[in-house]
Symmetry: C2
Subunit: 463 residues, 2 copies
């Protein structure tokens, strides 16, 4: 746990390469006991790295030849994308055995992401009751309470006494040991939520006290469809560790824990970051090269087509450009800078959406806020680039053309960048995914058009 | 808490505008009681939005004229960047009163981000013991256990009995009510950690049982300097809700909760996302326009200088370009596409770093993994752009020049994009901040050079 001294690095390096070789040999020789022992002796961090670098056939061999409980631990420590691949590839009954060792919520997370066919095959190997619970959980989105909640909780009746509840806890201590028993949830006979009981209140009460007198009535709750930003705000505003979740019939179906909400927020930000960088599917470098290249290419090929469309504006003004070749220097600058300005506005909108500081419908408010910033920064960037043009070519008209184009295009870029994520959200599209390419294509086209059409108008002053 | 029906949206719209006006009037008329009442009647989500849109002078007036406890709640619900501004602007003794209503960890988070002068002024208004505790907490980084842990925990001695501990819990129920009492931490007389006690084990034990027999010995712990990715992996591998944190002297100084680690991960991803988008300081649109423009401009001005440097390569080859004007169409395409390819590689490295799947020293491994992907995708993009050039101008030499340039530059972009974040991390620089501008400047220069120098060589075949 303590930080490692610097000079241990090389030694560990050699160790990890040697260990990967040893592990590979053991699995290929079907000595799964030795492989399991080797992995169990490592710290979690190295184990996860080592597992992730094992070829996928060997990963599959390993998890299907050790106890499901141990396999579940290993699968849990691997990157999710590899874990899903394994579960999809191995025998469904073995996948079901391994999954059953994980909490329901994580079973649903894994199974929900598999192709329908694999999902059905695995679920058919499980007990009907478990399968239908997982199927239900898998129907909720990742960004709403139903998809984030845990379904393990401790429910009590208001008619019970402290002594009875403590007795029940004592009798089931093993079952409760792996989930957060911070509160008990008080329900009526039909499973409607009627109160919350802090377990520490049990500690300090006499056995004969009725739960009804100890519980907090009318507790805060959320619905299965409450969205992530709102959940995050609720946990920010209250110091609760868990909030009960009810379904459309007001029946208690789960509990949302603070850590689960934070984890989902974290996943969403990571997702947004990766999409903004053009990574639309999870990638780790241990995957096969061709898979990685193909996944990245799907994004690149859309972008190159959009780029060609935008650049065709330049081809249209070829004659002007031929006469004022200096313009060719400014075209990439204006294209890049508009992208920069626009992306900043996108990022502010994404931040405000995730913090709940703006509603998706407030497009006009955002637009008005952006044009004022766009005006100031457009003026600053326009003046700068105009000065560069003037100093370089000594022609004030060239400065005017590129400066004005830069200014106008900055205003266009921030207007579009600020409002696009809101519009996307309203259309139920992913703002992190679509904002970038749409933004840069439009601002590139506008930028090229502004420079070149401006130059065409003032052509006699430029040549 | 339940989702709102669609048709309620317009009504709520009007409400929020009217409420902001009412709140403004109340504060300007010094009717702080009414303002507080109005805010308390709203749901957390609307309140946070309304507070954030209040001009900063009015925010300051409000929090300094209501009870510190209530002010702390409001400050807690505002965006952090506004909350810090308020604490910096108002009277230090009032700021201290408000801060004291928050948990120590959050006090340290707020105070640690203030300019040294404001920090000292506020801390000098607090009790010496509190001030030094906060000062200590503020010395830890946001990405290590010391900066994430909470300092409120329940410590017990191994010599105590269950009855004594429950008695202590009962007597201090109010003090413990706002923190996670899931475990108690067993320490010796010098405050060394020697065990962990699950509080539910207290529930099911007789009063006279000694803590020493009930506690879990040699518990897992982390040091104050253990880094975030490792902490995240530890919580991933174990189902604990909290892990004790010890300092250099092996003394118990805090507890790290699962939710706190997830929250820090979430903040880091949000931070990475925003930096990748060119937002280097927190911005919300309720801030003054000039502040927002200036903050964004700091990033834009660095980028425009880098852009001008890169584009100067084009100026150098002006003669070639003049003779083959069609090249001007391909320059922005190659520049944009290399940026795309490079950013994908940056994103994969950022993901692997944060998941602990790669060590910052494995530059060569990453580079080898990237060139194979770069070769495939470079070939695909190069062939595509070569075909476009061939179809458009009917000149295979033009296709060859732009196709080869695109291919080589894709390989350069992914090599640089994949390895830069690792190199940055080793140099203790922020990979999310610096990778983008360095990457695009270098790949732009290389791209322009490859197209135009290639064209110069084959000039006789191109004109």
């Amino acid at each position: 746990m303590t930080p490692e001294p610097e000079n241990a690095a090389t030694e560990k390096d050699v160790d990890e390469v040697a260990m990967l070789a040893a592990l590979t040999d053991q699995i290929e020789a079907s000595d799964f006991g030795a492989a399991q022992g080797l992995l169990e002796d490592m710290d979690a961090r190295s184990r996860s790295r080592l597992l992730s670098r094992l070829p996928s056939e060997l990963q599959q061999l390993l998890v299907t030849h050790i106890a499901p409980e141990q396999a579940a631990d290993f699968i849990h420590e691997m990157p999710e994308v590899q874990a899903r691949d394994i579960l999809e590839e191995i025998d469904p009954s073995q996948a079901a055995d391994i999954l059953e060792e994980l909490p329901k919520k994580e079973q649903a997370d894994f199974v929900g992401e598999l192709p329908k066919e694999s999902m059905d095959a695995i679920l058919s190997e499980m007990e009907a009751e478990d399968a239908s619970a997982i199927r239900l959980l898998a129907t909720y989105d990742d960004d709403e309470a139903g998809g984030i909640m845990t379904v393990k909780f401790f429910a009590v009746a208001e008619t019970e006494t402290v002594g009875q509840v403590i007795g029940r806890l004592r009798d089931n201590i093993e079952e409760f040991s792996d989930f957060d028993v911070q509160y008990a949830y008080v329900v009526d006979v039909e499973n409607h939520l009627i109160g919350v009981l802090r377990l520490r209140d049990l500690l300090v009460s006499r056995d004969e006290v009725k739960i009804a007198t100890l519980m907090i009535k009318d507790p805060l709750f959320v619905s299965t469809h409450t969205k992530l930003p709102e959940l995050h705000q609720i946990f920010d505003a209250h110091s609760f560790f868990g909030i009960p979740v009810v379904n459309e019939l007001n029946l208690l179906v789960g509990v949302l824990r603070r850590g689960d909400v934070e984890e989902s927020m974290s996943e969403q930000f990571q997702d947004d970051y990766e999409k903004a960088q053009g990574l639309i599917s999870e990638e780790i470098r241990a995957m096969p090269t061709v898979t990685r290249a193909r996944r990245r290419l799907s994004w690149l090929s859309i972008n190159i087509v959009l780029n060609i469309i935008a650049a065709s504006v330049i081809a249209f003004y070829q004659d002007t450009l031929e006469q004022v070749i200096a313009l060719a220097v400014f075209l990439p600058i204006i294209s890049d800078m508009s992208g920069c300005s626009g992306n900043q506005a996108v990022a502010v909108s994404m931040r405000e959406l995730s913090l709940g500081l703006v509603e998706p419908k407030e497009v006009v408010r955002v637009w008005l806020k952006e044009i004022s910033v766009g005006l100031i920064n457009g003026l600053a960037l326009g003046l700068l680039i105009a000065s560069v043009a003037l100093l370089w070519k000594g022609n004030p008209w060239l400065g005017l053309v590129v400066g004005v184009a830069m200014m106008l295009n900055t205003i266009i870029a921030v207007s579009l960048g600020g409002t696009l994520p809101l519009v996307m959200r309203r259309l139920n599209l992913d703002p992190a995914l679509a904002s970038g390419p749409i933004l840069t294509t439009v601002t590139d086209m506008c930028g090229f058009f502004l420079v070149l059409s401006g130059a065409s108008i003032f052509l006699s002053y430029l040549v």
